[in-house]
């Protein structure tokens, strides 16, 4: 697994990671509840512009990151109209018909709205993921939100393991193949294979974890209740300004959409 983080020192990068969460989380939550296609579209644009401009993420890189997701969404778009509950779209016009399968406009609009909603959630998350160093995030959790540093830094060390385990698995696969274990076969064979991979993979992971723990302990990790910080993350004025401005603009956008009658109903209101 490769981290999506893009390193530079833009405004968004310099913000405390937590302020990005505080600012985006309410908006993302709200978007998850929308049903009409307009709201997510506006916010996709909003998130995208902020990320590219104030995160100084090269547009190409940004597009490269979202392209695979677009494929996913396209797939969704195609299948949703067929899968939608016919009762919900019964009143809308027929778009086309394949044999006995009827696809109605309502279904297509539902599909588009849902796809856009998912996309807007992803764009919102990318604002955070592309501009936040995972270690800074953990530091902020430890320093501002009082997460135990023992847990935080252990998680940081564990994060380093992911690529290692990934390449280790590839080697184990090759090693088993050389012993004559075919990589084809049904469910049963796949289960057996996974179990065989698990043992050496676990053995390696445990050994590496032990070594890392020893290396950390021998540098006095956990010796004191508290620690000092080389990078002291703060909640500076710019963080408050960012949170305030971000939420204000989001609210304004929502109000404008509502005023124009484009907001549509929210999931909560529909269900109850």
């Amino acid at each position: 697994m490769e981290s999506l983080y893009y390193q530079n020192d833009s405004l968004l990068h310099r913000l405390n990671p937590l302020s990005k969460i505080v600012a985006t989380a309410p908006v993302i939550l709200f978007l998850a509840l929308t049903t009409a296609p307009w709201t997510p579209s506006v916010f996709i644009l909003f998130f995208g512009l902020i990320t590219v401009i104030w995160g100084r993420i090269p547009i190409l890189r940004y597009l490269k990151t979202v392209t695979p997701l677009l494929f996913l969404i396209t797939g969704f778009l195609i299948f949703y109209p067929f899968a939608v509950d016919p009762a919900r779209v019964a009143g809308t016009g027929i778009a086309f018909q394949i044999g006995s399968v009827v696809v109605r406009w309502g279904g297509i609009i539902f599909g588009v709205a849902t796809a856009l909603r998912i996309l807007s959630l992803i764009f919102g998350t990318l604002l955070f993921v592309l501009t936040t160093d995972s270690s800074d995030f953990i530091r902020a959790l430890v320093q501002q939100w009082r997460l135990s540093y023992r847990i935080g830094y252990s998680a940081m060390a564990a994060y380093r393991f992911i690529p290692m385990l990934h390449s280790e698995l590839a080697v184990i696969r090759a090693a088993h193949k050389v012993r004559g274990i075919s990589d084809r076969g049904g469910l049963r064979a796949q289960y057996d294979r996974a179990r065989r991979y698990a043992v050496p993979l676990l053995a390696t992971a445990i050994r590496k974890a032990e070594r890392t723990a020893l290396a950390m302990d021998s540098r006095a990790f956990g010796a004191f209740e508290t620690r000092s910080y080389f990078r002291q993350l703060t909640f500076a004025r710019r963080d408050w300004v960012f949170i305030g401005a971000f939420l204000a603009v989001s609210l304004a956008l929502i109000l404008i959409l509502a005023k124009a009658g484009l907001l549509g109903s929210l999931v909560v209101l529909q269900e109850f």
Binding site: H176, P200, T204, L214, A215, S218, A220, A223, R231
Partner: protein, 575 residues
Amino acid sequence: MIQIQDFHFKYIGRKAEAIAGVDLHIQQGETVLLLGPSGSGKSTLALALNGLIPHIVGGRMEGQVDIDGLDNRTATVAELSQKVGILFQDPEAQFVTMTVEDEIAFGLENLQVPPEEMDSRIQEALDQVGIGHYRRRRVDALSGGEKQRLALAAVLAMRPQTLVFDEPTANLDPLGTRQVFETIAKLKANGKFTLIIIEHKLDDLMHMIDRVIALTSEGNILVDGIPAYVFGEQTEDLLAEGVWMPQTALLAHQLRNRGLELSPFPTTLAQAEQAFGALGLAITPNGHKPLPKPDNGHPPAVEVRNLSFQYGEIPVLKNINLQVPKGDFLAIIGANGAGKTTLAQHLIETLHPPAGCVLLNGIDVTQIESRDLIRRVGYVFQNPEHQFITNFVDHEVAFGLRQMGLPEDEIDERMTRLLTQFGLEKLAKANPFTLSHGEKRRLSVATMLAVGQETLILDEPTFGQDQRNATALMELLQELHAAGRTVIIITHDMTLVAEYAHHCAVMSAGELLFHGSTEDVFTQPDLLSRARLTLPPLAELSGRLAARQPEWAGMQTVDHFATALAREMLWEEVT
């Protein structure tokens, strides 16, 4: 100053003690080489010095371990970590953070060093290991040698007086190894540090060593003294315990057995150079050892034609052409990332070559059924555990035989024979994962041989093995080779290459730089430096001696020297 009295340690769940009564006294400023076979308790001793034993590692400790007057039981790990720092073996498993400076800050933060003090301490530590300019790099962007220097800097920032190096170069290529050794030499020159070094590539290290301590496999002290005494007087004991020796000392020992005494007994290359110079022998050159002729009646065991391979957008192999004749003993050598393993994986089709690029015994590998392929080529991975697929040692060996569809009684017979051949018969019902490191390696080779492949590929076969296990394994490979098998090894150990390989394929950055006899490789300094490789110690010695007297050129192993000198002595006796 380190004072150890009657120190015992037993890990939880083990029957035998890892350290069974050690008394030691190490002066401030001494440089000590700590030797011992696998499982002799070298690392245990290291962990006791910085207090992880008994504070963190589970087990029962007895006796007294004092560091600068601090009792390791009563002192805290925080105090001891500022007295003793340890550099561990695995460069991938020592880091917590993502960037170089954060990694150094990590230890300082643990000690609650004020942030305003950290900046200068970080820079100072990085400068001490010569990577000051890497301060803002990401850890993952560093090479193995650089990572180890970073790990060392992270330890140095905590300002310990004693540094323990626990096999710091085991995972490094020759250049990385040299970088680490040069850094240790710089710390030694500084004069402030007590250095305790656990290593087995000894020749490039010996010039710094004041004292050698060897442990027995039971965890006692076998011998303790200056290098010339330990390697010169106690040689038989060391060899019997399976302890690695410097090549120069091994050579001097061999010559002594043949009646030629070098004095003073050399343990460093410089001393050996002097001792041979003082002998004043005029030797006749060995000349090229005639290599066994490739059997022309057979197609090459392995043939690679115009093979290129990319990983994503990064080229890993660039147009490789290589012919390995049947019955050859080939070493594929090169720095980390040169493409050695990638090339080898194409030979067993775990990476898929295009049709016509890889031929085994003249047959395109893509045309060979995978069931058939594993009967032709055996591949032993660097980590033996990766290849284990059953829960019992004997099942492990029988697995390949069953796949061949042999009758049960033949499987039984061949299995028993292999287990005996590899000294595993008593462990037949053990779980492969519970074996010792040497046993695991033997088992992984045994499982590969069970099928009786004509070609055997081994990735770092001696990795992590003590001298006895390594030699036993290499002798076995020699036997197989003598019986007509084709053997290909991938290794960073140039001594191993010089001693066993007939031919070398030298790779660098995905290219095959050279393919020819091993002797030709080690007489081309340009080639080696281009491939970021180093000379084996005795080839280095040969080169230095040849600078004075050209007849000394071209020797690379203990055998080469011993044969040339024996001939000389014989000749002198006759005249």
